[in-house]
């Protein structure tokens, strides 16, 4: 009895957040004002975070809220605000019906691809590997432990290289963006 209730609740939440996400995504691409579009995108991100939590990926859900809904969208809004683009009277990128039809066709093709892939069978070895890869969640390690372990052991090199990449990007951004100190003389 309890199980039925849980699965009913689960299904309800899935459809609730899924529908909100789809509706917000549609509103996001159809709004003329960039600020409104950005806010609808934040809504999409929140719904996706909820879906991640329902998939038992709480950490990714939290990161989704912090990084995408929080940091990146705030930067978007800042740029819109600083460049004073918020009026929404600018020409749309999507011109003419040809562009709309092409975009719709691409969207339908992607949808069809997802449908086909959802039904297709993968090689046995791969699906088995994936199933084995999902170790039962160790309660003592929490949600973050299973991520931290591989990150700082198996993938340490990639992790460190990412920090070099970010450092390079920061040095480059400062180099391009800063005022010339010598010009102040």
């Amino acid at each position: 009895m309890g199980n039925v209730f849980v699965s009913l609740l689960y299904g309800f939440n899935f459809y609730l957040f899924g529908l909100i996400a789809i509706a917000s995504a549609l509103l996001f691409v159809t709004r003329k004002s960039p600020v409104a579009a950005a806010l609808w995108l934040v809504n999409v991100m929140f719904c996706l975070a909820a879906l991640y939590v329902m998939l038992d990926a709480q950490f990714i859900g939290a990161i989704q809220v912090l990084v995408y809904a929080g940091a990146i969208m705030v930067v978007f809004l800042f740029v819109v605000m600083l460049l004073n683009l918020g009026r929404g009277d600018a020409d749309s990128d999507m011109r003419g019906s040809v562009g709309r039809i092409a975009a719709g066709a691409v969207g339908l093709a992607l949808l069809a691809e997802v449908m086909v892939l959802a039904r297709s069978r993968f090689p046995e070895e791969l699906t088995l590997r994936a199933a084995q890869g999902l170790a039962p969640v160790d309660v003592t390690a929490g949600v973050i432990g299973p991520i931290a372990g591989p990150l700082f052991n198996e993938y340490l090199l990639a992790f460190e290289l990412t920090s070099i990449l970010l450092l390079t990007a920061i040095v480059g951004a400062v180099l391009i963006g800063k005022k010339r100190v010598t010009d102040a003389r």
Partner: protein
């Protein structure tokens, strides 16, 4: 056996030169930021960077002489091929910084951090040369590309430089997306990111006709073709090469290309060799198209930087032959060719840099009219570089042997690429049209009356010119030692399990 990168001794055994370079680059970054911008500070940091690069070079030589046995698996390759490529990359970086110090002084670029970015870019390239894992390849490519995007736009008073930088950034990001999507599909099809494992899974599960794998390889091929500027993905190269500061153009044309190709070779030899028949035709046509388009369009160029840009596209086409050939001999032909090409490219761009007056001007070929009468040594050096790029015997020095080994590798390839070798030779004949045109202009035409006297050449640029000429001619006269070194440092396609060798069918489109 693989290296356990968590243990300090094994980490240093695998990555000592890279760690030295990255650590040194971070220290130099702090040094660069310590003082206000000035020409003197820029020069100091540049010279320190050259010192760091020479130290890294010494470490690489020491590592290769110590000769740890080539490891068969693992994320990082420790083999002779990697050390050879590292040396070529470091040589290119030294040339770049040496030219950039004096070029910066003349163009009023005072940011000392520009040299640090070159160091970061080379660190990324060295990672790329060693990477045996798709993830590490991606990070290496990005470290290299991000640094070079910024270096392209270094001259902030030049609108053309800014345009080049933005164009390179957008198209580079586009190419990265292709590459990453391809990697994701390859991972999806095989469940592995390490090259050796990918190769094994393809064999074991018989994924040779798997559409997801083939689409993934195709997308990765497009991404790589963008990065090495192979036709039809070469459109960005002439504009970007023309707009960037000349030393950075040399860096992009030679060093970035060498690094991208080293990784290209390693991925296609080690991970995708099992599906050779799936991609060989595509790379074959890519090579032919690049050779033909580059050579034909180069003929009509009036600007020498654009001409050299198209020439670098042509050399991409020649180097693509080594990917299709897929043999130990082809990998050694690649390192030999990359060295010769780096020397000749840096020499030629050193001449272009020293001929360019300060500020933003077109580097027209007609400016070289009668150069022989005012700068006989420089004209002679330029002739040597152009003949080396052409692959001319004796006067082109090592360039001739580089092309010779390339053709040999094509003919001796397991798949038999005789037609490709013939196309290579025929398109080389076309290339004589634009290389020799510059030589003719320099030596056989009178100096124009209104031509201004070229600026005096700085000591570092002169050193780059002297070293490249001497190496090109010297290695051209005595190539045997270099041939021995490169030949003992090749690597086999799909080296790990010769028992699984496919017995490839002969391939001739």
């Amino acid at each position: 056996m693989t290296y356990d990168l968590l243990s300090p001794t094994q980490l240093s055994a695998a990555l000592l030169p890279d760690l030295l370079l990255m650590g040194g680059a971070i220290v130099l970054m702090l040094v660069a930021a310590w003082r206000p911008e000035s020409d003197a500070h820029q020069r100091t940091v540049g010279l320190a960077a050259i010192g760091l690069l020479i130290a890294t070079m010494a470490t690489v030589v020491w590592m290769s002489v110590r000769g740890d046995s080539a490891l068969e698996t693992g994320v990082i390759a420790v083999d002779g091929f990697r050390w050879m490529v590292d040396l070529i990359l470091l040589l290119g970086a030294i040339g770049t910084i040496a030219l950039a110090i004096e070029h910066n002084e003349r163009d009023g670029i005072t940011q000392a951090e520009s040299h640090v970015l070159v160091l970061f870019a080379v660190a990324g390239m060295m990672i790329l040369a060693a990477a045996r894992d798709l993830m590490v390849v991606f990070l290496g490519i990005e470290i290299m590309s991000v640094a070079v995007y910024v270096l392209t736009g270094l001259n902030r008073r030049s609108a053309r430089s800014a345009e080049a930088s933005l164009k390179y950034f957008l198209l580079g990001a586009f190419a990265t997306a292709f590459l990453l999507y391809g990697m994701a599909l390859v991972y999806g099809a095989t469940g592995q990111t390490q090259f050796a494992e990918i190769g094994l899974v393809i064999r074991r599960l018989n994924l040779i006709d798997n559409p997801m794998l083939l689409v993934g390889i195709g997308l990765m091929l497009v991404g790589m073709a963008f990065k090495v500027a192979a036709a039809p993905f070469h459109m960005w190269a002439p504009d970007v090469y023309d707009g960037a500061p000349t030393p950075i153009t040399a860096f992009m044309a030679a060093t970035v290309k060498t690094a991208a190709f080293a990784s290209f070779l390693r991925i296609w030899y080690e991970a995708f060799y099992s599906v050779f028949n799936g991609w060989a035709h595509a790379v074959w046509w890519l090579a032919v198209l690049t050779m033909v388009v580059g050579n034909v369009v180069a003929l009509s160029q009036k600007n020498i930087k654009r001409m050299l840009a198209y020439s670098s596209i042509v050399h991409t086409g020649y180097l693509l032959v080594t990917v299709t050939a897929a043999s130990v001999l082809a990998s050694t032909a690649f390192t030999f060719y990359a060295l010769a090409y780096t020397l000749a490219t840096f020499g030629a761009f050193a001449v272009v840099a020293s001929m360019q007056p300060a500020g933003e001007t077109d580097a027209r070929i007609s400016d070289y009219q009668g150069l022989w009468h005012v700068r006989p040594w420089m004209a002679t050096a330029m002739a040597v570089f152009l003949l080396a790029l052409l692959g001319f015997p004796v006067f082109g020095g090592v360039g001739f042997f580089a092309k010779w080994y390339l053709i040999q590798a094509a003919i001796a390839a397991p798949a038999g690429l005789t037609i490709l070798a013939v196309i290579l030779v025929l398109t080389s004949v076309i290339s004589a049209g634009y290389y020799l045109q510059v030589v003719r202009v320099m030596f056989m035409m009178p100096r124009a009356d209104e031509a201004v006297e070229p600026l005096p050449v700085g000591a570092l640029t002169r050193a780059v010119l002297a070293v490249t000429v001497v190496l090109i001619l010297g290695l051209g006269l005595f190539p045997s030692r270099l041939v021995e070194i490169t030949q003992s440092n090749g690597f086999r396609p799909y080296a790990y399990s010769p028992a699984l060798d496919m017995g490839l069918p002969r391939f001739e489109p």
